[in-house]
């Protein structure tokens, strides 16, 4: 799922990138260490995978609350949890 938010207001600086990255881990409502934050020309891009759609929505909500002026693009998937179809054989 890709979501766009806000209008471009210029590239966010490195400190915003660092703050968003730390918020993703340290905010108890998010607590994700596996999300990558990339600074792009038109704002921040967040990508990675989480365990539920609810967690993806929480990431967007919390980041938007904390940084209302930063354009954010989110491309975060929910990890598949199906049974494996293959094995690995090791001697």
């Amino acid at each position: 799922m890709t979501e766009h938010r806000d209008v471009a207001t210029g590239p966010p600086d490195e400190y915003v990138e660092a703050e968003v990255h730390r918020l993703l881990t340290e905010d108890p409502d998010v607590a994700e260490q596996g999300i990558t934050v990339v600074r792009r020309e038109r704002g921040l891009m967040l990508y990675g995978e989480v365990e539920s759609p609810h967690r993806r929505e929480e990431i967007l909500r919390r980041v938007a609350e904390r940084f209302p002026d930063v354009p954010i693009t989110i491309d975060i998937g929910v990890i598949r949890a199906q049974a494996p179809t293959e094995i690995e054989q090791l001697p």
């Binding site: 598949r80 949890a81 494996p84 179809t85 094995i87 690995e88 054989q89 090791l90």
Partner: protein, 258 residues
């Protein structure tokens, strides 16, 4: 003689995830002799989240063995988390091991959470400020405990289970700058100190599946975001031909490999 091991790490259970793994887990006893969990079972390490883990991974019909991860330490409720897991029949390892009697032989699993520090030539040293020395000594103690636990196992096949990575190979895909927070070479050294057949770890969500220790032990990163399925299944045996080494069954896990 074949021992079948299922493994996954970093499932980060909370109420919103309960039930997602269960359909695949209900099939697991047909395909594996044991399930090994490579830490980060929870989001914040609360007792309530541990109960979610117990619901999802308890009562499977095969032994379940786990180590904790860094997330499982977040709320400082480790004793409560361990108790909930153990009450659900899940064996929690930290510097110790367990031997499971499987149809194909005795499977020995030794486990620690492990810790960071980095890899040979690019690692933290036991030097300087107390905080730095404490950091490195935490890693060293963990690795020493893993080595002792592995060497103490009386079994046919040894598996090392950690949360942090023992090698950089399985971190490929992660930013190089954070490797020292993802694992440490001392864990690999511990694994190489015993005749270990397989090392399983998690923690590196953007890493890759396969690697080896300097001593040649196969390492697999089974973090859920890496394997992208409920669990991976490994068949460990001593009678597979070279052509079959590290091969992958082509038509499903029901396939007979022999």
């Amino acid at each position: 003689m074949v021992i079948r091991i299922a493994a996954v790490g970093d499932v980060h259970l909370d109420e919103d995830v309960v039930g997602r793994f269960r359909p695949a887990l209900d099939e697991l006893p047909e395909h594996a002799d044991a399930l090994l969990l490579a830490g980060d079972l929870t989001r914040h390490g609360t007792e309530a989240e541990a109960r979610c883990v117990a619901t999802e991974f308890g009562g499977l019909g095969v032994p379940v063995v786990t180590v904790l991860g860094n997330h499982d330490h977040q709320c400082d409720q480790v004793p409560q988390v361990v108790k909930v897991l153990e009450d659900a029949g899940i064996t929690v390892l930290e510097g110790d091991g367990v031997v499971l009697d499987c149809a194909g032989g005795r499977l020995g699993v030794a486990g620690v959470k492990g810790f960071g520090g980095g890899f040979a030539g690019r690692c933290a040293s036991d030097f300087g400020e107390p905080e730095m020395k404490a950091f490195v000594r935490t890693t060293t103690q963990s690795a020493d405990a893993l080595s002792a636990a592995l060497r103490g196992l009386d079994c046919d096949v040894r598996v090392a289970l950690t949360h942090y990575s023992p090698v950089p190979d399985t971190l490929a895909g992660e930013p190089l700058e954070i490797y020292p927070f993802l694992g440490s070479y001392q864990l690999g050294q511990a694994i190489d100190s015993a005749p270990t057949a397989l090392a399983l770890h998690g923690h590196a969500h953007a890493g890759t599946e396969r690697g080896t220790t300097p001593g040649g032990v196969r390492v697999r990163n089974v973090a859920h975001p890496v394997i992208k399925q409920a669990y991976s299944v490994f068949h460990l045996g001593d009678n597979l031909g070279h052509a079959q080494v590290s091969g992958v069954g082509g038509s499903g896990i029901q396939q007979s490999w022999s």
